[in-house]
């Protein structure tokens, strides 16, 4: 039992923190969030050069063979900077699904480029009616002589607009809510019958709704086998998201402590009031809980524990609740300035809100965990 970072992990953490210091001042974040692309192509090169994009892939696939724990070390440090680059969509979602599901030719063709950052992927798994249920899919795949075509709509696909390739989850058999019959497909961004409606997210990110009308697609791996791999990818990505939230919450706590120590009202710092101190203590406690359950879960998932999915839901429920609380109190304790676009705290509140929603909100995961009670 050891919650401490290894020497390699500590170095990894340092390198990400240095990157944030040098590249993610709030003014830089604002410029990127407001840009057309929504992130920095230069930063993305750095992500590749530092090996962060290779980290989670197995060595035989051109990766560094890093574990879920290693990835969490990176995303927690990135969380403090509210980074915008598509690590999640391209590597942890798209790339990992190819790694778990693709045949050797597909892995060979795709993973090297993803790990080098020269190709980005987006994973279209959600649908309007599915909410957070991975097995619910109305999007269908039809087999024709020329191959498969897809018909349907996928929702809130992260970074679809800038992706060089889409992976679309669609049904090859069964009814919309059947657990069996889920497949994954590769779709070219310029494929006929594909339309993306692009939009910003509340936290400065980018996403699209993807409309498929007889869009040609290449089956990823084998038909009807995608669900288990998708669940594994989402579970692992949820670990990364929770670590990111822990990093963002830590930032909120530090900044709010500083602000309440320097903001004077009634002749003293507002942080001298016990009510403010207790609120900060509650925030601190929430961050500690979130950090601990995230570390524990990430380690369990990394060692391949049997009930990993339930453990992941427990973590997400706890971290989601903490994220909401810490984000909202960060704004509250900043008062008016917390409500402004020009000050960072409100953006961290929004990022934490988005991280709560991503891959299932607190209520979803609490219900999912409740099934194991």
């Amino acid at each position: 039992m050891d919650f401490e970072l290894s020497a390699e992990q500590a170095m990894l953490k340092d390198s990400v923190e240095r990157f944030i210091q040098d590249n993610y001042a709030f003014s830089q974040w604002q410029a990127l969030a407001g840009s057309d692309l929504g992130y920095s192509a230069n930063n993305w090169k750095t992500f590749a050069e530092m090996g962060w994009l290779m980290l989670p892939f197995a060595e035989e696939n051109g990766g560094l063979g890093g574990s879920v724990v290693d990835v969490a070390v990176v995303t927690e440090a990135l969380g403090a900077g509210m980074t915008l680059e598509p690590l999640m969509s391209s590597v942890l979602l798209g790339g990992k699904l190819v790694e778990y599901l693709g045949d050797e030719i597909q892995k060979e063709a795709i993973l090297g480029a993803v790990a080098e950052g020269t190709k980005t992927l987006a994973l279209a798994y959600g649908e309007p009616a599915a909410r957070f249920d991975l097995s619910f899919a109305e999007t269908r795949a039809r087999k024709s002589e020329a191959g498969y075509v897809l018909i349907g709509r996928k929702s809130v696909v992260l970074h679809a607009a800038s992706a060089d390739g889409l992976i679309v989850i669609a049904r090859t058999a069964g009814e919309a809510d059947d657990v069996a019959g889920i497949s994954a497909f590769l779709v070219e961004p310029d494929a006929p019958g594909l339309r993306c409606q692009d939009y910003p997210l509340v936290d400065g990110g980018r996403a699209s709704d993807v409309f498929l009308a007889d869009t040609p697609a290449e089956l990823l791996g084998e038909e009807g086998t995608a669900l288990a791999a998708l669940q594994r990818v989402i579970d692992e990505a949820t670990c990364a998201v929770c670590a990111e939230a822990v990093g963002a919450m830590g930032w909120v706590l530090e900044v709010t402590k500083d602000y309440t120590a320097t903001r004077n009202q009634f002749g003293k710092a507002i942080g001298d009031n016990q009510v403010i101190q207790h609120r900060l203590v509650d925030m601190f406690t929430a961050v500690e809980e979130a950090k601990a359950i995230t570390d524990m879960t990430v380690m369990r998932v990394a060692e391949g524990a049997e009930n990993a999915s339930a453990q992941v839901s427990a973590m997400k429920a706890k971290v989601g609740e903490a994220a909401r609380f810490v984000g909202a109190q960060g704004v509250q304790l900043h008062g008016g300035i917390g409500m402004t676009d020009e000050y960072p705290i409100g953006h961290y509140f929004k990022r934490l809100m988005a991280l709560d929603v991503m891959f299932g909100d607190t209520a979803h995961h609490l219900n999912r965990f409740a099934e194991t009670v």
Binding site: P128, A129, F132, G267, Q332, G336
Partner: protein
Amino acid sequence: MDLQFSDEDLAFRDEVRAFLKTNLPANLLDRSDRGLHPIKEDIEAWQKSLHKKGWIAPNWPVEYGGTGWSLTQKYIYNREYFLSGAPQTIAFGLNMVGPVIYTFGTEAQKNEYLGDILASNTWWCQGYSEPGSGSDLASLRTKAERDGDDYVINGQKIWTSFAQHADMMFCLVRTNTECKPQEGISFILIDMNTPGIEVRPIIGLDQDHTLNEVFFENVRVPAQNLIGEENKGWTYAKYLLGHERNIIARVARSQYQLARLKKIARLERRGTGLLIEDNDFRRRIAKVEVDLMALEAMELRYLSQDIAGKKLMAEPSVLKIRGAEIAQAIKTLTVEALGPYGMVYEAEDQLTMRNDGPLGPDYAHGAMADHLYQRAATIYGGTNEIQRNIIAKLILR
């Protein structure tokens, strides 16, 4: 104890309800439903039609243009108003400075301003908060120095809602620094077109422009614009704060928003069923509804005490705390109802440039806009922490 309203009151309720149903403009309701602030021209036109009906200022004394309604009727009117989904009338003239002027102003000031406030010919803004003076408002430093027939004003206000639209500002200024902070404040009316005033926008979390900073550099304001006596401004400001009680709990507005949340939950699909069929989600709607029922019961009980002539002390702060918390809980649940679309948000100016329809369901944008904006509900008008201090002082002695 009796919960029933009289037949006259019920007839009055029906009259109000019918008027609002017939006359509330659809575009105003639509923007309000979508969580967007009304456009200046639209809300002015709507206030003018309420003025024509004679209902624009129920709380004003009849001699100044009020309705002469009983406390119960005022309650019923406010309730029906917000249950109709109508956006709140702009409070700065009607609910704030108007009552200060007819209570403490000179005849000349009453003649000059009250008519235009009732007719919505002038848009007012509130110059209270300063960068260093939020909760501790009395520490304000914007200075007014007497020079002949004028005051010369220098300083800065912040969080000034809708100052970009305003013709006039009612403003707290420091006229004496050699005394307790509260005793050196004056209440003055400033024409926003006076040279030396600069209004700078503050963009909010919702990426909308409602807030502003207002800078004063040697702004000359006629001394006749002073309300009451010099250095007595704190008294008038406190009077004004006590005057917003009837809308502080926002029960009816929250009931309207709760009904909207239920409507969304009935539209949102959840697998092969609907979100409203999800027991857990329904239970959480129920929890907010129970809280809201208790809030309504408190409001009614306090109204009854008010009618009976009992002076209310801590009660308005109780209503403000719970009213704000419940409004926020409803907004949070409404965004949660959107599922993954709860991550999506696009500023209104981008949204209206779209030519291919809204993203996600058409209620998504407003749900998030309102959720973000309502984070301020526990901050403005005295934070919930300050409200708790007020209650503690009043009940723990």
